[in-house]
């Protein structure tokens, strides 16, 4: 396996070779070894979205039970770890709130262990925590979860590779073209500089947009710390008339 020093040097080379200002990860980012054979090498083809691409799937209260937003109450016992409240707004690229739309999350437990059968590293499973949640945004585009702060965990990209603690997010907009799957991180993580997935976003300002903010006004007395993370989806294409038809 390659050393962290080798990966870190490759990250620096890739950053130096990338024009500044990119808003999205490079998909040809070889320090993330699994990407080597799994990214298209041809340029993406420009397409004007049409028809079904302009309409996101619709989710509602028949899809999501409100208790799914609290990852700490689903298994009969109190999970181990730092209880935290996580909230923010989902906006589209024009600043409009994405209302009543599905938000899905998954994460490791406080010890950095996923419930997933492929995660076999020797950290404990927490029987009171599976790390899966869903909610709908409200009329202002606000989502809200109660969960446990995840731990960092090792992986096999290179020798002594550790992922910064993160929560996976899956998001929909008003158009299917706005589909987003990403990861939210925690402020000040010492693993940021070492992580080829986070560093696949070569622009510091863009990387910063994946980092939540600690918010003491969200923190509740003798109960939970509070973090805030707003999400901006890509821009829409439907004309205002088309949109208004269906709001």
């Amino acid at each position: 396996m390659d050393s962290q020093a080798r990966i870190t040097a490759e990250i620096a080379e890739a950053h130096a070779a990338t024009p500044p200002g990119g808003a999205q990860p490079r998909i040809d980012f070889l320090p993330y070894r699994s990407s080597a054979l799994r990214h298209p090498t041809k340029d993406l083809r420009h397409a004007d979205p049409e028809g079904i691409e302009l309409v996101a799937p619709v989710f509602g209260h028949s899809d999501v039970d409100p208790v799914e937003a609290d990852l700490t109450i689903q298994h009969g016992g109190e999970p181990i770890g730092e209880r935290m409240l996580l909230t923010g707004r989902v906006l589209d690229g024009d600043g409009r709130p994405v209302r009543h739309q599905l938000v899905e999350i998954w994460q490791a437990n406080a010890g950095g262990r996923y419930i997933h059968k492929r995660d076999q590293h020797p950290a404990p499973i927490d029987p009171s925590f599976t790390g899966v949640g869903r909610c709908l945004t409200d009329g202002d585009g606000v989502y809200r979860f109660t969960t446990i702060k995840p731990g960092p965990y090792p992986w096999r990209n290179h020798l002594n590779a550790w992922r910064p603690a993160h929560i996976h997010f899956s998001l929909f907009g008003t158009e299917f073209t706005q589909r987003l799957v990403t990861q939210m991180y925690f402020p000040g993580d010492p693993l940021f500089a070492l992580d080829p997935i986070y560093q696949s976003i070569t622009d510091q300002a863009a990387r910063d947009r994946l980092v939540a903010t600690y918010d003491h006004d969200l923190t509740t007395h003798e109960w939970a710390t509070g973090y805030r993370w707003d999400i901006v989806l890509t821009g829409t294409h439907a004309t205002p008339l088309e949109r208004d038809d269906h709001e």
Partner: protein, 182 residues
Amino acid sequence: MSETLAPTPGQTIGPFFHDALPYDGGAFLVPAGTAGAVRLHGTVYDGSGAPVPDALLEVRQADPSGAAPRAEGSLRRDGRFTGWGRAATDASGRYAFTTVEPAGVDGGAAFFSVVVLARGLLDRLFTRAYLPGQSDAFLAGLPAAEAQTLRVVREDDGSLRFDVHLQGDRETVFLRYPRHER
């Protein structure tokens, strides 16, 4: 158009999504046995031609009359057609949906809009799976070999096959929409 906010970047779906995103019935846009039901299936391949066993596909589609469904209920289906489904690939890299064939919306060509996610893929990708015999200006504007990657194949058993090649000689054409960096 108002000022555009900087978007939140994407990140890979990673290897651990199976307990979170796939769900019972996710790949059944209609119940098996429904009149007109068809299997839409295929294999996801990497650049070496090996199957990708940890990919996730989503399809978004119109109904057979060309209407874009706006009904809720995809996660707990109760017989309504919502026009959206989700399927993970299996150990052989294969996925399968059970659905109905869409018609084109507003006179456009009939296609499934497809989102592809996978461990190792750092951002989601969009593509289109055009029904056999369908074409439009976009498809006609592609070199023939590239257009072929977007055409669904009707198998002898009547099912629809759409393979995804993330990389390589048969690399699937992936899309970039206006206003989006990717």
